[in-house]
């Protein structure tokens, strides 16, 4: 429970952080809320040589509406997002992360950059069709959620880059549902399913389903989406579509679940999340 020795620096701006990370070399890492990275360091799963703390970079914090999308600073705390009805699915999912103490410290950028398949926000970003903005010594680029998560705890963010902003479309007119299954309320998701449904006269005009912890990366349940799109939004059609929720997933066995059990949970949770999203 004691981390390996590391150096620590506090960045005063994003450019300052980029400079410190470049000086720090290959094992330097940005530090956001520290609620994933620091436990990993204590377990010696991670041993960065330098932590560049972003907490004083004030312009990385805050939520702004920009036409049809939300721009959320990477250092915005989960507690700043939780329960915000105007943020829809994102606000609902942020409120289910771990417990209030973690939400008071953990950040949206830190969670996404960590890329844990059992965390709540990666699948939410994927379902929303959002993106992240990263900046490094060679400039700024935007990475779509579909390209961001590349493997277990591995993202497309390069060494030396800092995640600065999260962008999600506002998706007006969509209902949402988030079903997180765990043994205790503060635990990571054994399986999570988030759903966004747009209804037109009781028919499913659009649907997006994100799966948490059903592979080493978050997934879209595309088979279930296709099964429901264009269909009446009633219990029967939702249940039929949810049967496809685990198609294409590759859940790993862990302490609390077998792959078969996770696939079963995905189908059950998908039906519940879709029902909530569709209001049926």
């Amino acid at each position: 429970m004691i981390p390996a020795e590391f150096d620590y620096a506090v960045a005063e701006s994003v450019d300052d952080a980029i400079g410190l990370l470049a000086e720090g070399g290959d094992d330097a890492r940005p530090l956001a809320g520290g609620h994933s990275l620091l436990p990993f360091m204590k377990l010696r799963f991670a041993a960065p040589s330098l932590l560049v703390d972003l907490r004083r970079v004030a312009d990385l914090r805050g939520v702004q509406r920009d036409n049809g999308s939300w721009k959320i600073g990477a250092m915005t705390r989960h507690a700043d997002l939780q329960g915000r009805a105007d943020l829809g699915l994102l606000g609902a999912a942020a409120g289910q992360i771990a417990d209030q103490q973690v939400r008071n410290r953990g950040t949206i950028g830190g969670s996404l950059a960590h890329g844990d398949a059992a965390a709540d926000l990666p699948a939410v970003l994927l379902a929303l069709g959002g993106s992240v903005v990263v900046r490094g010594s060679s400039g700024e680029r935007e990475i779509a959620a579909a390209d961001l998560f590349q493997g277990y705890l591995t993202t497309a963010i390069a060494q030396g880059e800092v995640l600065t902003e999260v962008r999600v479309p506002a998706l007006e007119g969509y209902g949402h549902g988030y079903e997180k299954f765990n043994r205790r309320s503060e635990d990571w998701a054994m399986v999570g399913v988030c759903a966004l449904v747009k209804s037109a006269d009781g028919v499913c005009e659009d649907v997006r389903i994100g799966l948490t912890h059903m592979a080493s990366v978050p997934l879209r349940a595309t088979a279930a989406e296709e099964a429901l799109r264009g269909q009446p939004l009633d219990g029967e059609h939702i249940a039929a579509a949810a049967q496809q929720a685990a198609e294409g997933s590759e859940p790993l066995a862990d302490l609390n679940a077998t792959p078969d059990y996770k696939r079963h949970l995905a189908r059950v949770l998908c039906r519940r999340a879709l029902s909530t999203a569709a209001g049926v």
């Binding site: 205790r184 302490l255 609390n256």
Partner: protein, 222 residues
């Protein structure tokens, strides 16, 4: 004479001690009760079992214990609350697991699941008062009462909820996976031998060693 002066004599100035008394302020007495005390009580709980996922939630808890005359009722309630939390932990959450290589995989409180306030019900306590004849206060133990009563109360409630499925026994802890597997087996849908948790081959139901060994009573848990 003040307490400070007494302490000063007892620990600093031996010349002021009364004749025949040694330095220090210590006294040892041994009380040997004539008999054990026998506290008793009953706990009743109501659980929800999500038949689709196997997740168990405790929705109501009523505990009536008898520890004789209540000297400090708040402390008695606290003992019962703590004991019930421990009992629920054993019944539903807590488990020491080693993988096939002998590596402990429940080495932190992330993996070794203790129930938190969110998982615990409000506990409704009450008392009957039957003084013990074996001590002058008539008091009886209360510290273990909750934990002794809670575990079987949960187990019996879950088995009662699943009785219509033909389920009479599930090994502790009643994790969602185990409850779901028991339902699947009862419905004839389980495929092959029981699946493994973290690469560990599980014993058949009823032969586990979840703290108590094979404990199937005649005719199943009633």
């Amino acid at each position: 004479m003040t307490l400070a002066e007494i302490a000063g004599c007892a620990y600093i100035d031996a010349t002021k001690m009364p004749e025949g008394m040694e330095m220090g302020l210590e006294q040892t007495l041994i009380y040997d009760p004539s008999n054990f005390v026998f506290p008793f009580g009953a706990h009743v709980c109501v659980v929800d079992v999500d038949a689709e996922t196997g997740k168990v939630s405790v929705v109501r808890w009523v505990a009536v214990d008898d520890c004789g005359p209540a000297i400090n009722p708040m402390l008695i309630d606290g003992q019962v609350h703590g004991g019930v939390a421990h009992g629920i932990g054993q019944a539903l959450y807590e488990q020491v697991v080693y993988d096939a290589n002998g590596q402990l995989v429940t080495g932190t409180f992330v993996d070794y699941a203790l129930p938190t306030a969110e998982e615990l019900p409000m506990i409704e306590t009450d008392r009957t008062v039957t003084p013990s004849p074996s001590n002058s206060l008539g008091v009886k133990g209360i510290g273990e009462a909750g934990t002794i009563a809670a575990t079987p109360a949960i187990l019996n409630a879950v088995i009662d909820a699943l009785r219509h499925e033909g389920i009479t026994y599930i090994d502790m802890p009643l994790t969602p996976l185990r409850v779901w597997q028991a339902i699947e087996e009862a419905r004839g849908r389980a495929e092959g031998p029981r699946e493994t948790e973290q690469g560990v081959q599980l014993p058949p139901q009823g032969e586990g060693s979840a703290g108590s060994g094979p404990t199937i009573p005649e005719g199943g848990a009633q």
